[in-house]
């Protein structure tokens, strides 16, 4: 089965630093997402991206966050001036053609564990 790839698997940073989390979605997918999961808590939606622009974002996704699809394969999440509470597992996900029979089937990556010290 095709996979969503995320790098790095672990990222440690100092509070106030900027981090970029990288994702390679499945190649023919059209919709891209970032989710996060704080340890022991539920998976939270951050942002969805389609046609080179943000289509929806949550209240968590404030000016500190940005997303970009710099080329045809990568999808990145930038967190500026990281805070302690940004420590979490960040998941990238992608979804394909909506005309398929399976709706809402997202493919998730294995995540990047971000630790802000």
């Amino acid at each position: 089965e095709p996979e969503v790839t995320q790098t790095p698997s672990h990222q440690v940073t100092q509070m106030g630093q900027e981090v970029i989390l990288r994702c390679v979605p499945i190649s023919n997918h059209l919709y891209f997402y970032w989710y996060r999961q704080i340890l022991g808590q539920k998976v939270e939606f951050l942002v969805s991206f389609y046609n080179n622009e943000i289509s929806e974002k949550s209240e968590i996704f404030d000016d500190q966050f940005s997303v970009e699809r710099p080329d045809g394969s990568n999808f990145t999440l930038k967190i500026r001036s990281t805070k302690l509470e940004d420590s979490a597992m960040y998941f990238c996900a992608s979804r394909g053609d909506p005309s398929t029979n399976i709706r809402e089937k997202l493919f998730f990556g294995s995540g990047t564990q971000l630790s802000v010290l």
Partner: protein, 113 residues
């Protein structure tokens, strides 16, 4: 989006069938019911999806009654490796902008030897 309610946790033993029921009283006409599985330190993984009646695949079965206000995920003959969190999600037709998935708390299933 329809809100879902699931048990927080369930324990089972190897070889048993596990049934997890999800309530979604406010499900809309065009909503589908989808279940995901999440192992520790991994992203959620799609298990099964249905709209009504029964759906079965190589991993699980999904039972949806006629009123669609609940659904039951059935895992036959579980093994230790089925220990995970299982999420029930309800969502509508895909729009051009793409629907987000909203995860609830999920059901933590522990399979014991």
């Amino acid at each position: 989006l329809a809100k879902t309610t699931q048990p927080i946790s369930m324990d089972s033993y190897e070889g048993q069938e596990v049934n997890i029921t999800c309530s979604h009283n406010n499900i809309a006409t065009n909503d589908y019911i989808t279940w995901y599985q999440q192992f520790p330190s991994q992203g959620p993984r799609f298990i099964i999806q249905g709209y009504k009646t029964k759906v079965t695949n190589e991993v699980a079965s999904l039972f949806i009654p006629a009123d669609r206000k609940s659904s039951t995920l059935s895992l036959p003959r579980v093994s230790l490796s089925d220990t995970a969190v299982y999420y029930c999600l309800v969502g509508g037709l895909i729009k051009a902008a793409g629907n987000k998935l909203t995860f609830g708390g999920g059901t933590r299933v522990l399979v014991k030897p």
